[in-house]
């Protein structure tokens, strides 16, 4: 069975935790011992399904989820991992973290309040990360007598935002639910016969995940594997972007030397073709003396060799970005020193742009920046090939990951 990774977004009161709790409950994914713990914590009240995810002590104290928690559940068709991210403003960085590893996004809005600033921010981040499949769950339909009109109003208010932010390949689905009562989450609602679409779970089960954009093979070398006795040199790494076959003519960055794929293997088994996403061991016809951080691509499909770049940066540290300061930039597995020369403008989560009013980017701010590198990276624009178009910045003093960047043109 395959595993689908889901990110979730929504404001604090939209009922996101209850929705996740409902998904778990109705798919029988909560085990007896946990059910007992939830019952105990709910006390005399109605079973509080939101407790299925709000686990850490610190959350009890504050009454909110604070970090990315990974929640597991399964249906007859798939395994799911939800990156549960918080809905309140100051933890945008966690939301991006969760979304960056997800294939589909669930946005929860409450039928009582509708689209809020926080919903916009979540949707903005979905789009920034080019998440193709978004399902907008209109929750709390039970508060409005399961009214079709309320649902249509919610759709309309969300769509007014779409005009500003949607990208071409994006697929957006709206589902009316009541997480509290269990309508249209796993089981079809008896109270909304006017709704003919899928329940949330059947939507997820039927979703075919295909990435969009260019299809180009990128093979960054993680380790060189040697066996001197057998005169063996192989290159270990994870293949990104497109498949690669034995016999294929390849080109190597940065040397631009060419050779052919001699063998593809994983452990003791040899393969004729490696599909994208596979961790493989690659051998070449010629000994090109490659090392970690070099990249193998199909001949004629070179990525951009960059020493400067323009990118969209999301700042994730309480220590603000300062232009002119040197950071470590990690693109995939390759690290180079980098300096942000200029903040071109800041991006508002409502899809408008504002010009940079100072030379700093603060925690949770998103800005378009110009960066110069003291080495090369072999990258693609994020919107063309997402798997080879992102990077992180590391503060060399604290070693913390302080920003994530999306490469956007030269």
């Amino acid at each position: 069975m395959d595993t689908l990774k889901i990110s979730t977004g929504g404001s604090v009161d939209a009922g996101k935790s209850t929705l996740i709790g409902r998904l778990l409950w109705d798919t029988d994914s909560i085990t007896d011992d946990r059910v007992a713990a939830i019952k105990k914590a709910s006390g005399e009240n109605q079973l509080d399904l939101s407790l299925a995810t709000d686990g850490l002590l610190i959350e009890r104290e504050r009454g909110i989820t604070i970090d990315v928690a990974h929640v597991f559940f399964g249906s007859a068709f798939r395994n799911y991992i939800i990156a549960d991210t918080p809905g309140h403003f100051e933890y945008t960085r966690n939301m991006i973290t969760g979304a960056s590893t997800s294939q589909v996004s669930i946005l929860v809005i409450g039928a009582d309040v509708g689209t809020e600033a926080q919903t916009e921010r979540h949707f903005f981040i979905n789009n920034l990360l080019r998440i193709k499949d978004v399902v907008v769950v209109v929750n709390k339909m039970d508060l409005f007598d399961f009214s079709e009109e309320v649902f249509e109003n919610m759709k309309r208010s969300f769509k007014s935002m779409l005009d500003r932010g949607e990208f071409e390949e994006q697929r957006i689905t709206f589902i009316p639910v009541s997480a509290l009562c269990g309508d249209n989450v796993v089981h079809r609602s008896d109270s909304m016969s006017w709704y003919k679409g899928p329940t949330l779970l059947s939507y997820l089960d039927e979703l075919s995940v295909d990435t969009f954009g260019l299809s180009k093979a990128r093979f960054p070398i993680q380790c060189v594997v040697q066996d001197p006795e057998a005169d063996f040199i192989g290159y270990a790494g994870k293949l990104l972007g497109a498949d690669l076959s034995v016999g294929c003519e390849i080109e190597v960055l940065p040397s631009l030397k060419r050779s052919r794929v001699k063998g593809i293997q994983v452990y003791e088994k040899h393969y004729g073709r490696a599909v994208k996403g596979s961790s493989i061991l690659l051998t070449l016809e010629d000994d090109l003396k490659l090392e970690r951080g070099d990249m193998i691509v199909k001949a004629g499909e070179s990525p951009l060799v960059m020493t400067t770049l323009v990118g969209v940066l999301t700042w994730m540290s309480s220590t603000s970005l300062k232009t002119g300061v040197v950071y470590d930039l990690q693109h995939g597995i390759r690290r180079v020193k980098a300096r942000v020369d200029d903040i071109i403008n800041k991006l508002n989560p409502d899809f408008s742009q504002k010009s940079a009013d100072d030379d700093a980017l603060n925690m949770n701010e998103i800005g378009r920046v110009r960066i110069s590198l003291d080495g090369q990276i072999f990258a693609d624009p994020f919107e063309e090939l997402t798997v080879n178009g992102s990077f992180i910045l590391i503060d060399p003093n604290s070693n913390d990951t302080v920003a994530v960047g999306l490469i956007n043109g030269l």
Binding site: D2, T3, D28, T31, D32, D33, A37, G55, L56, L57, I58, I66, D67, V68, A69, H70, V71, N79, I81, N94, I96, T97, S100, T101, Q222, C223, V225, Q226, D227, F232, A236, K238, D243, S245, V266, Y267, E268, H270, Y271, G272, R273, A274, V275, G277, S278, S279, I280, R292, M316, D328, Q330, G332, I333, S390, I392, I394, N399, D400, T401, V404
Partner: protein, 300 residues
């Protein structure tokens, strides 16, 4: 034409993580307990670096209260694969007087392992400890990163974890810090068993149904082992057909009634089971937030 499409996403991810660990750290080590998760890690490491040997040693923190089957299995695996094994005993830590042995009904050495582990990290200057923890096991683990930075005292601070974006892993640390690496973070118990089945990996016989002398306490089935597992006189010994879902220190691992005699029947059992894996861990039951508090203090 044969293609790597047959290999699962989770396996590809785990191999990628192991390779990053070896590339980014100078002294990695694999924390080996003899349980199915660490056995799975050993196979993944074989696959990640083949045809080279696994480029890091195994570290076993031995409480002295392990099942004899586990130790026998460990020693055979190490010999067959030509691995380097380091064993550090909790008994030595107790003898050195830095920790105190627990007494009473729930006495266990499970907590004491932490000190022995931190001492071993210090002794060998390990900078990356690869472990088989999974996010589905327990709430406190569900927030764990793939590369989880620990300070000098081994502490985990869930508020200041590094964000992990896409598949980029930042293993930069200062001297004295170390990173706990969790390659099978995203696996479930069933994923582990499917992998064990697919790869024909041998696991200790404790995982499959067998007759055993046990006694029941707090609705848990505890193995009888006098001198190790404390038992009151009134706690009646009986023979049952059981298996273990997790294998830890004997004092904190309960058995389940089971007829599952092989991987397929274990997988079938898991499809119908309604208790979580860690429900058979006595140490988690002692307090509601057991694992989380132990993690803060440096427990693996």
């Amino acid at each position: 034409m044969s293609s790597t499409a047959e290999i699962g996403t989770l396996e590809n991810e785990a191999i990628y993580i192991l390779r990053e660990t070896v590339a980014q750290f100078s002294r990695p080590v694999l924390l080996f307990s003899g349980g199915k998760d660490s056995i799975t890690l050993v196979r993944l490491a074989q696959k990640a670096f083949y045809p080279s040997k696994i480029p890091f040693p195994l570290l076993h923190i031995d409480t002295g209260h392990n099942f004899p089957e586990t130790i026998k299995f460990r020693d055979r695996l190490v010999e067959e694969l030509g691995l380097q094994l380091i064993v550090r005993d909790v008994q030595s830590t107790i003898d050195a007087g830095t920790v105190e042995e627990e007494v009473g009904l729930y006495a266990s050495r499970n907590m004491l392992q932490t000190k022995t582990l931190l001492d071993a990290i210090e002794e060998f200057k390990f900078d990356a400890c690869i472990g088989g923890a999974r996010r589905d096991e327990e709430k406190a683990r569900s927030k764990e990163r793939i590369f989880s930075v620990r300070d000098i005292s081994g502490k985990w601070d869930e508020k200041s974890q590094r964000p992990e974006l896409f598949d980029m892993l930042n293993g930069k640390i200062e001297a004295g810090q170390n990173v706990r690496v969790f390659p099978i973070s995203n696996w479930t118990e069933s994923d582990v068993w499917s992998f064990i089945g697919k790869e024909h990996i041998e696991v200790p016989s404790l995982y499959f149904a067998h007759k055993r002398l046990v006694f029941i306490r707090d609705q848990m089935i505890l193995p009888v082992n006098d001198g190790v597992v404390f038992r009151e006189e009134y706690e009646r010994v009986e023979e049952r057909v059981v298996r273990f879902r997790t294998i830890g220190d004997m004092t904190c691992t309960a058995a389940i009634l089971s007829e599952a005699i092989d991987v397929d029947s274990v997988l079938e059992e898991l499809r119908n089971v309604s208790t979580s894996e860690r429900a058979s861990r006595i140490d988690d039951k002692r307090r509601l937030h057991g694992l989380e508090e132990r993690k803060r203090s440096g427990y693996f």
